[in-house]
């Protein structure tokens, strides 16, 4: 009897915990349906390569966002950080005058480094505001998104065009059918996913998001960890911005507006919870793929573009509702188990 209960428990467990798996099944189903319906248009190497290339920025950001969401915080400034990273790199490559300082054209590695440093500083400021000063992360990063976004616009303007080929080659090279950014993304997702799943330092995120007070009492350096985490988020945003700038051959102060909301959507669909303590990188990645696949499918199917946000919104609500329903059913099953365990103990105790 107890073994069958364990089994049903673990089945529910699996359903709740492996959002990445259930999304993978949905993605496979959708891909199958689309291939049958539209054949060659959908099921082509170039389409797959295109889809993957288009979701690179979101996927890289979703990794960092999942770290934050697991820890019970959020970052609305990542879109601005992305733009800033690209703009700073662009400015360094082309040379310009900002704040009265003349910048001579720099070699690619230096330019990339400055771009990353700039967005790391943005992330660090977020971290200090949230972890040290104690500002709510939503407010702190909302404010920072204005500040970083403003700086990016000031520096990058509407466009820094014609970036040198020595830079664009980073993203415009094609290897084995995919452009480089797809490999960059894959590397980031895999490494970040393993770190969160395996490394002790990153496992802290779950304790901080699950119960911040108890994390402190368990000897976890919450302030330091949160600061580092926001800095990592800034770094990833800068990286995404630079990869994107290299792909487009230009940079601007307002690349990919509102991308942070798409990323949060993907992370929640991928199994994250804004109350913290749960989620993983694979889920976030699958969430990004799922949303982008739906969008692409709608385009191929010739559905009016205005339907896209409506469908995405509906999916977000659907994911959250499924979560609620599963949790409820799950709780009921624990209640049942609780009764049994009390009984078992009672009898054992009296014997």
């Amino acid at each position: 009897m107890s073994s069958s209960r364990r089994f049903s428990d673990s089945l529910v467990n699996a359903l709740i915990n492996t959002r990445a798996l259930s999304l993978l099944v949905l993605i496979a189903l959708l891909a199958f349906v689309m291939s049958v319906a539209f054949g060659g248009i959908f099921f082509s190497w170039s389409n797959l390569s295109g889809i993957m290339l288009n979701l690179v920025s979101e996927a890289i950001l979703a990794v960092g966002m999942m770290y934050l969401i697991v820890s019970g915080v959020i970052d609305l400034s990542i879109g601005a950080s992305l733009a800033l990273g690209g703009a700073i790199a662009g400015i360094c490559l082309k040379g310009s005058v900002i704040f009265g300082i003349t910048i001579n054209p720099q070699p690619v590695p230096i330019a990339v480094l400055w771009g990353l440093v700039a967005s790391c500083i943005g992330g660090l400021l977020n971290g200090l505001l949230v972890a040290r000063v104690g500002v709510n992360s939503l407010i702190a990063t909302l404010a920072m998104s204005k500040i970083i976004g403003g700086a990016a616009l000031y520096i990058g303007g509407s466009e820094i065009a014609n970036l040198p080929e020595s830079f664009t080659v980073l993203s415009q090279t094609k290897v084995l059918g995919f452009f480089m950014p797809v490999y960059d993304m894959a590397a980031i997702v895999i490494v970040a996913g393993i770190l969160l799943a395996k490394m002790r330092y990153f496992r802290r995120f779950y304790f901080i998001g699950g119960n911040i007070r108890s994390a402190r009492l368990s000897g976890i350096n919450v302030t330091g960890t949160l600061t580092v985490m926001f800095t990592i988020m800034g770094l990833l945003a800068g990286l995404a911005g630079i990869i994107f700038a290299a792909r487009m051959g230009n940079a601007s102060g307002n690349t990919l507006p509102n991308i942070e909301l798409n990323v949060i959507t993907a992370a929640i669909i991928g199994g994250g919870s804004l109350s913290g303590g749960k989620g993983n990188v694979a889920g976030a990645f699958m969430g990004v793929i799922f949303i982008n696949l739906i969008k692409t499918s709608m385009v191929i199917a010739g559905i009016d573009i205005y339907w896209q946000p409506i469908i995405v919104g509906a999916i977000l609500i659907g994911a959250v509702v499924i979560d609620i329903v599963l949790q409820e059913r799950y709780r009921a099953s624990i209640n049942l188990r609780k009764l049994q365990s009390v009984r078992r103990r009672t009898l054992g105790h009296q014997a």
Binding site: M199, Y206, F207, G210, S214, G219, I334, L339, V342, R343
Partner: protein
């Protein structure tokens, strides 16, 4: 499973001749000593020169009313806050104050009242939070972690899979996991703050077995509890605080509960059933064969002016019945008749309009608006009474609330005080005031005195009786059997979702109730009792 074999029983039962007398207690090796601890908060001296010691392998009770300074003292011990004067000596070495991590690593383990575990992580990972065993590159070594967790779980008598998620285990299991976590830090002094507040009586026995076992291994336990009756069964000595002043330490076998209570409150308290001459007349509520996912086939009646107690272990379905009656939870089957009329409330609003009230067991999460002032909390269920033309009449509300605050002796500096700044007892009274103002015909009170100090407890009992005298029918749900015996005219017992018995106050004894709670029929229990 907890070891309850004969050897450990023998070791820990204390027949009169073997009991710890005062001289022996003095000879015991001191492991921990408080020396003149003073803590000043703005306007109050929270601790005024507290000095006492704890022996190795001793269970040392720490009691006092809410606000007596127990938690403050423990927070100082655990390095959470700094005292103005005094010192604490642990194993001959003075503790450095204000450093939680240093306190932990020097062997002080805290098990807090509120749970500190993360539900979505495994038991093992929770035990080793932030200190998981690692291999190269700081990768978490799950196999070692689980093996070590299994060993620690064994030490607290739990046979659980260490890789199971914490959200899948019960309250008592979580509590034991917390103790395992403290043990993993090599705690030699374990602070248990209200460990039995959220667990049932039988689970309490499991906890006590563990405490005795740890004690036998030389671990000292500081045991904080509002449930005084527990002290005599688990503590060797007990220290009493009152208003931040140390009242003395007593060897448990030399002292009666009455004496401890007198030390705590400075007055005698009458904890007896109050025969207010209530006669059964006018059935107001009839419940027949009520069933849902949490309980099944429950039938009972409620009469005008009656106090009906509902006893049972946590998870027996008591609260669930209340929520179903109140329209907060659905029920699948059954009939509810209110004043002779069939009713089925689908939402609390309907139940309230029909004259029902429900005072929640979890006042912080489901009862109070902690960030709102006292007055708003009291009127929240009666807003229409104070509303004219869509605007709340504050003056009228204040006037009415002042009456309740003084009647219920709610100790608050003003009506504008935020409820979160009040003590547990006063918070509970604020909730009582809310429903008193509503003047419900039937009031369901779930755990009326959870986390409430002795003085306020008796006041609350008196208010409940007063309401019943005034004609309100009251259902009291409680995990504390003495409380039910004091209050109830009739007690219905639940076990595992079923009603297992009903006793009038003349017939009811703690023992009978315990048996019914455990789902053992009374005849069988009587037979068992005879052979013991």
């Amino acid at each position: 499973m907890i070891e309850t074999g004969p050897p450990s029983e023998e070791r820990f039962l204390r027949p009169a001749g073997l009991s710890l007398d005062r001289r022996q207690a003095e000879e015991m090796e001191k492991i921990l000593e408080f020396k003149g601890i003073v803590k000043q908060f703005p306007g109050v001296r929270a601790l005024d020169g507290i000095s006492f010691d704890v022996a190795r392998g001793e269970v040392h009770g720490l009691v006092g009313e809410n606000g007596a300074g127990k938690s403050t003292l423990m927070h100082i011990l655990a390095g959470v806050c700094l005292p103005e004067a005094g010192s604490i000596v642990l194993e001959g070495r003075e503790i450095r104050f204000g450093d939680e991590l240093a306190a932990q690593s020097s062997g002080i383990g805290m098990v807090f009242q509120e749970r500190s575990l993360v539900g979505s992580l495994s038991i093992a990972e929770n035990i080793f939070a932030g200190r998981q065993p690692v291999t190269f590159l700081n990768w978490v070594d799950r196999r070692t972690m689980n093996a070590r967790a299994r060993e620690l779980l064994g030490r607290v008598g739990l046979d659980l899979d260490p890789s199971a998620m914490v959200s899948t285990i019960s309250a008592i299991e979580q509590q034991l996991v917390e103790i395992a976590k403290a043990l993993s830090l090599n705690a030699r002094v374990l602070i248990l703050d209200e460990p039995t507040a959220t667990i049932t009586e039988i689970e309490t026995q499991i906890l006590f077995d563990l405490i005795r076992d740890l004690k036998g291994k030389g671990i000292s336990i500081i045991y904080i509890s509002h449930r005084l009756e527990e002290l005599s069964s688990i503590c060797d000595r007990v220290s009493v605080l009152k208003d931040g002043v140390y009242q003395g330490t007593r060897v448990m076998t030399d002292v009666t509960l009455d004496e401890i209570i007198t030390l705590m409150v400075g007055r005698k308290i009458l904890n007896v059933y109050d025969d207010r001459g209530w006669k059964r007349s006018g059935r107001i509520l009839e419940v027949r064969d009520l069933s849902s996912t949490a309980f099944s086939g429950v039938s009972f009646d409620l009469w005008k002016g009656e106090i009906l107690g509902i006893a049972g272990l946590a998870g027996a379905g008591r609260t669930e019945i209340a929520l179903a009656l109140f329209g907060a939870d659905p029920y699948a089957k059954g009939e509810v008749t209110l004043r002779g009329e069939r009713v089925h409330f689908r939402q609390p609003q309907d139940a309230i309009n029909a004259g029902l009230g429900y005072l929640t067991e979890d006042r912080k999460a489901a009862g109070l608006f902690l960030e709102l002032p006292v007055v708003q909390n009291i009127i929240s269920a009666n807003l229409q009474e104070f509303t004219t033309n869509g605007l709340v009449n504050d003056r009228k509300a204040n006037r009415k609330c002042e009456g309740f605050v003084s009647h219920l002796r709610i100790n608050t500096p003003s009506l504008r005080q935020h409820v979160m700044n009040l003590s547990g007892g006063n918070q509970q009274k604020v909730l009582l005031a809310r429903w008193l103002m509503k003047n419900s015909e039937i009031l369901i009170i779930d755990e009326p005195t959870r986390g409430v100090d002795v003085g306020a407890k008796n006041e609350i009992y008196e208010f409940i009786r007063q309401m019943a005298r005034d004609g309100t029918s009251i259902i009291v749900i409680s995990s504390e059997l003495p409380e039910l015996l004091i209050l109830s005219d009739r007690i219905m017992v639940m076990s595992q979702g079923r009603k297992t018995g009903e006793l009038s106050h003349e017939d009811a004894t703690e023992e009978k109730l315990m048996h019914l709670c455990a789902g053992i029929a009374l005849e069988a229990a009587a037979g068992q009792g005879g052979t013991r």
